[in-house]
Symmetry: C2
Subunit: 337 residues, 2 copies
Amino acid sequence: MADELADGTPTGTTTLTDVARAAGVGESTASRVLRGHGSFSAKTRESVLNAARSLGYVPNRIAGTLASTGSKLVGIVIPSLSNIVFPDMLRGANTVLVGAGFQPVVAVTDYEQGREETLVESLLSWRPAGMMVAGLEHSERTVAMLRHARIRVAELLDSDGDGIDIVVGYSNREAGGASARHLVSRGYRRIGYVGHDLSRDLRVAKRFAGFRSALAEAGLEVAAEEIIPSSSSIEAGRDGLGRLLGRAPDLDAVYFSNDDMAIGGYFHCLARGIAIPGRLAIFGYNGLDVARAAPQPLSTIRTPRVAVGETGARLVCSDGPPTKIDLGFELIEGATT
Amino acid sequence: MADELADGTPTGTTTLTDVARAAGVGESTASRVLRGHGSFSAKTRESVLNAARSLGYVPNRIAGTLASTGSKLVGIVIPSLSNIVFPDMLRGANTVLVGAGFQPVVAVTDYEQGREETLVESLLSWRPAGMMVAGLEHSERTVAMLRHARIRVAELLDSDGDGIDIVVGYSNREAGGASARHLVSRGYRRIGYVGHDLSRDLRVAKRFAGFRSALAEAGLEVAAEEIIPSSSSIEAGRDGLGRLLGRAPDLDAVYFSNDDMAIGGYFHCLARGIAIPGRLAIFGYNGLDVARAAPQPLSTIRTPRVAVGETGARLVCSDGPPTKIDLGFELIEGATT
DNA sequence: CGAAAAAGTGGCAGCGCTGCCAACAATTGT
DNA sequence: ACAATTGTTGGCAGCGCTGCCACTTTTTCG
């Protein structure tokens, strides 16, 4: 069927058959030319390409995928688009996937395991060539589906635990520990914590657990903590530190659940004239731009978020045995400790 | 074919036919039950559902979509994942689309029109139910393809121009103008500009054009400008302002291409002890968290990025005539002007 | 109580494409 | 010149599912 009849009636879309007919060749020949696969003469090539162009042919990958088994889609499941970590990871993954001819399909869980299950199922129904998910903790059924799918599965941004197939990340637990040891080595002793809802984001919980246990090894404990019930933000960090200092004014350092929160704390101190690090030290997590560019660069831990996306994507596109890669992190000794 | 033979040989995936056979019903009946569409007895329902569950059946939407014409995919094309604007818009769109049973497929152009064309073509080949693209400027072929596809097309985040079908955004030109008038009304006269690469991001160019022409109406012009050749960042803003002030130390206000840049400028002033706004006023664009939470809230323009995504998605999911919606913006009189 | 309507069900033809195979044409080698 | 290759090409059977239609039950109702 042509795209438009002589009388102007639109009739569906242009199909490969239309192109083949217009070019005066068989379907399979047209298909071969359009995919640059198999052999055909230069003349045939031209006529098919011309026909396709003049008809405005757009191949139907739905049909193509169904016929050839094995799509060029890769499902990506992340908890949020608000937390910079995930867009960063996504960016890395996107670059590599697109470079390898894959098309990412993104789904966002809002940190809910139930929704993760639904989304994984839904993505799998597109028969993707691979899946990338954030974190190592998933519902039993999610894991079962992922295993059952017999495709490459990458679990990203965490290395504290066992994965299904590919694991690329860094140890959040260890990052928390390193943060604590850094503060201790700098001589801080009355250390507080300002964090955000950790029941939802398990990586935050792991960090804090690592932090606590490293403190404990130094014979210390968290002197005071303030957990805000919502997700992290600069304002939450600012207000959280305000409240924490209201209750525990003698703290000499505060560990924040991430840089957003820490920058909030930094702003609180700036606004109140609290000397950093003289009167109060601040330590964050993530290594954001804003942390690096602040008048006093924030002491924090820089995580290889983009690289995690890239490496994960690369592995998902490849064959090979299950792999676990710890990309590590870098402790940035800024000016706030 | 069963998922696994008696001898343990894995044989492909479980199909609807398998489920139907296991449940002792016909394919179409199984299909109806699984989609909750059409009629079937409660008993049939149970047996199909049980069969599906015990076989670990995952429907194949590739096949489903091909058979039923019309997918539940919506293609989204954005220039970048690094600029907060796009993840924000994406978030709004995602919420609405998922709520309406659609699955977003995201593609990133890196601000290259050539790549946009490729990506639009590639996304269209998935026969999406709709498309959402950033901005109003596209290559001729891109527009042709989008029109040809006979699906809903939303162009987002800009309202300065004509669109293909649905346009949801705000006037970048007008935002620039409002910024200029604000500065003028506050009595600033020696106004500088620090911006980032505007050849790639057309919305930045529109803002600056609007800014200039509003200044001209007040009989003023941009006293000095510093354009960094890369994309925007806090550091770029900080360094840019440093260089600008080096060349033009007598400025009394600086307009930045966005809040990232402006916060960088703010940090520069903090670090150098330049009084804000006494000695120098700062004005940004976007209304980011960090701008609001800074010790001195940044004067800026807050744009309804998430709402643009939501509204655009809502319209893409609906029928109706071509529409253009200007969601406007809000000028935030912070403490930096 | 029988006819008409409704509910439940299975068969089967595609959706648009790819992969395989067989058919033929153009080369090459001997 | 003839056989053996190599290069080109079209036909056609699916991929797994949905939509339509025809058919068999039930239920409803005059």
